[in-house]
């Protein structure tokens, strides 16, 4: 079954309705201080690629759903393989899957696969999906030693046992091995801003991104986020490739909007991120990014593909917002100070609480920076049910 539709969603109205509700309750809506200016230093003389964000298919999002792809929390790799093939063909309009992959990857590329292990072990980029991506990249002709799985935190990568899930020869890079470990970062590529008077005002880009890989396939998870609202393609790339990002939060204020989008504009990150494959096998609808509470993790069995991270994340935002509404949780746009807690454990177990005034507007802000399309009416959203 397939249906193509341009959605007439009402999610943009959530923020407005929330303000009205707060006024009715007599609570003063939160007004965040203006974000400080952010200075960016990209790689000098880097020539931007036309494959870079928003990529070859701005505004296009392909959702492939197979409820049989996950059962009792076990992901079926054969099912994932079928979903990925179908999704790639639909995204690109090519008649066969190899041609679809060749639009993005050449045999001479060094391919980085950016995983999201931050919810491990309960919810992280499924190894079954990553293995299917590796197989597809190999079929294009990329040798295994030129395939690099990476994330910032080696601890989280190891907690997910990621190394054991990979084929022999594929490289795995956990950039930081301890606090203040800067050895894996490129000191010439950074974003600089002073958010809260922090002592280190720079965030550096991972050297594996700036110096080693030539293309990045981004594999975020379908997940809410206590600060940024949701964590999708944009946040997985930005906060998973630059260091020293936690400084952009100080409860209950977060500057994930606009920092996430700004980071994604920095070259060569922008140009190298050519494809986004969101893992929606599991859906964390509250407690992200770190929750391990299974009652907040649904299992929709979905993949979402696109080259436009803003369009994919806008769709993710819609999905998670609707799920939270259905479950009676707070809106992602909630601004009621009475719903704030400083107790993260309390937050992890109560979907009526927030740690931060979340900033889902970071997605639209990234759209304004030219990274993609956030206007829901302009997003070409294809749903495929297998």
């Amino acid at each position: 079954m397939k249906r193509r539709t341009f959605l007439q969603s009402a999610w943009l109205g959530y923020a407005g309705s929330m303000v009205s509700r707060l006024k009715a309750q007599g609570a003063k809506p939160f007004s965040r201080p203006k974000a400080p200016p952010i200075e960016t230093h990209g790689l000098q003389d880097y020539k931007p690629s036309p494959l870079g964000m928003p990529g070859l298919f701005p505004g296009r999002v392909v959702e492939v759903v197979d409820p049989g792809a996950i059962a009792n929390n076990h992901v079926s790799q054969p099912a994932v393989g079928r979903m990925l093939e179908r999704g790639m063909v639909e995204l690109t309009g090519r008649s066969n899957v190899e041609d679809a992959w060749r639009l993005f990857i050449q045999p001479t590329d060094v391919v980085g696969i950016k995983i999201n292990p931050s919810g491990a072990p309960a919810c992280y980029s499924s190894p079954e999906i990553v293995r299917e991506i590796i197989s597809a990249v190999e079929r294009v002709g990329v040798p295994r030693h030129n395939i690099v799985i990476y994330d910032r935190y080696s601890y989280e990568v190891q907690l997910g046992s990621y190394s054991a899930f990979l084929p022999v020869g594929v490289r795995l890079v956990g950039i930081e091995n301890s606090v203040l470990d800067l050895s894996g970062y490129d000191m010439d590529v950074y974003c600089q801003a002073d958010f809260f008077g922090e002592w280190e005002t720079r965030s550096y880009l991972a050297a594996v991104v700036s110096q080693q890989v030539t293309k990045i396939i981004n594999v975020p998870t379908l997940k809410d986020h206590s600060a940024s609202g949701v964590t999708g393609c944009l946040k997985n790339l930005a906060y998973g490739s630059f260091n020293n990002v936690a400084r952009s939060h100080q409860e209950p204020i977060t500057y994930t909007d606009p920092l996430i989008g700004v980071m994604c504009t920095v070259e060569p990150l922008r140009s190298k991120a050519v494809l986004h494959i969101m893992d929606g096998m599991r859906e964390v609808w509250h407690g992200g990014p770190l929750t391990q509470v299974q009652s907040f993790i649904a299992q929709p069995g979905m993949l979402m593909l696109g080259t436009d991270p803003v369009a994919v994340d806008t769709t993710e935002l819609d999905i998670i917002q609707k799920k939270r509404q259905a479950e009676g949780a707070l809106s992602l746009w909630d601004r009621n100070p009475k719903n704030l807690t400083h107790d993260s454990n309390e937050f992890y177990h109560n979907s009526h609480l927030n740690l931060f005034y979340r900033q889902p507007g970071h997605i639209a802000a990234a759209g304004k920076l030219g990274l993609g399309i956030s206007d829901f009416q302009k997003i070409d959203r294809q749903k495929i049910q297998l």
Binding site: H74, Q158, L159, S163, A164, G169, S178, D181, Q294
Partner: protein, 347 residues
């Protein structure tokens, strides 16, 4: 304080024995009440320390094997392997052995840190080398399981499995048991590397098996604990937990102790696989337990001692958050390392 097997040349598995005591044997241990010394290493520790005489051997992601004098907490020596180390050291005769991220396995002189030999594989070696009958056995992420000569470091044989190996072997008379990333548990003939049997599970295995009598016990990332017939590989029982298992079981007194990423620590009947008790530790449990008299200790968040009969928390020390570290229990002292890179001697 001397390890029981300091003069032997046998180190059968991860931490020497099925109780994971590092060759010290099951000791009485009580709650620590003070820190005797602490050493801050440059990076995270993702392995278990082992004790030999007065030296505590700790591998670290800073690329060094650290030999720390337990009397002073100061370095006796350290050896630069040049690559991250996840491998728990093993002790046999006058040697300390470990693998490293660059693919090499090293044998060093225990007293001085002098390199005796180096054996190179083509990818990282995270398992702990196992020593039996004059050979050293270990798997590599290059897809091979190796046997090398204990004295010379020369290759005896290699068995290609074409899948990464992160599981430390358990050696019994003539046989080697370990898990593999191709989802199988393997039994190899010690003398030749011939595959005697292999048994599939539902996902990759990075847990290290323990063998008691004729039963092999191991966890799998398919969420289950397996007990296999050591002779045939036939599955005797399978116990489902809520998430993947990279913890390695300890076995003592007919009970299997193992952690799961579902936050629970389990005690299972070795014969039947039935649940004796389980305890929620409120964090993923990926390290291996170590058995002591009356308690079983596990590093999960911090160091936790559970009553061996009931699973109730006997005491806790809020130190030693860990992925794979296991405390050294000497009776009087507890040596502890963890992800923050600090090594503690607790008294």
């Amino acid at each position: 304080m001397n390890p029981q097997n300091s003069d032997a040349e046998q180190w059968a598995t991860l931490l020497s024995d099925r109780e994971r005591t590092g060759g010290l044997g099951v000791r009485h241990v009580s709650a620590p009440n003070q820190t005797r010394w602490r050493v801050r290493l440059a990076k995270s520790v993702r392995s278990a320390p082992v004790l030999g005489g007065d030296l505590l051997f700790v591998t670290c992601l800073d690329g060094f094997l650290h030999a720390i004098d337990t009397r002073t907490g100061r370095h006796a020596w350290k050896f630069d392997a040049g690559n991250q180390i996840h491998s728990t050291p093993s002790l046999a005769g006058n040697k300390v052995l470990f693998g490293c991220g660059g693919g090499s396995v090293y044998a060093l002189e225990r007293s001085s840190g002098r390199e005796i030999w180096e054996f190179a594989t083509k990818a990282e070696v995270w398992p702990s080398p196992v020593v039996q009958n004059g050979k050293v056995f270990f798997g590599s992420a290059d897809g091979n399981f190796y046997a090398v000569d204990f004295e010379s470091g020369k290759r005896e044989w290699a068995r290609s499995l074409d899948a990464r190996i992160y599981s430390t072997a358990f050696a019994t008379a003539g046989r080697l048991y370990f898990g593999c990333s191709d989802n199988h548990v393997y039994c190899l003939e010690e003398s030749s590397g011939k595959v005697l049997w292999s048994t599939p599970t539902g996902n990759v295995i990075d847990s290290s098996p323990a063998v008691d009598g004729d039963t092999v016990v191991v966890g799998s990332e398919d969420f289950a604990v397996y007990a296999l017939d050591a002779a045939s590989g036939a599955v005797r029982w399978k116990f489902e937990t809520g998430l993947g298992i990279s913890s390695s079981p300890a076995i003592s007194g007919g009970t299997v102790f193992i952690g799961s990423k579902d936050n629970f620590f389990y005690a299972l009947d070795l014969r039947t696989g039935s649940l004796r008790w389980k305890t929620d530790l409120n964090t993923s449990v990926t390290a291996s337990p170590v058995v002591a008299e009356g308690v079983v200790c596990i590093q999960a968040g911090g160091l936790v001692a559970l009553d061996i009969a009931t699973g109730k928390v006997a005491w806790r020390a809020a130190l030693g958050g860990s992925l794979q570290s296991v405390p050294v229990l000497t009776g009087r002292y507890i040596y502890l390392s963890g992800i923050q890179g600090t090594v503690y001697a607790l008294e």
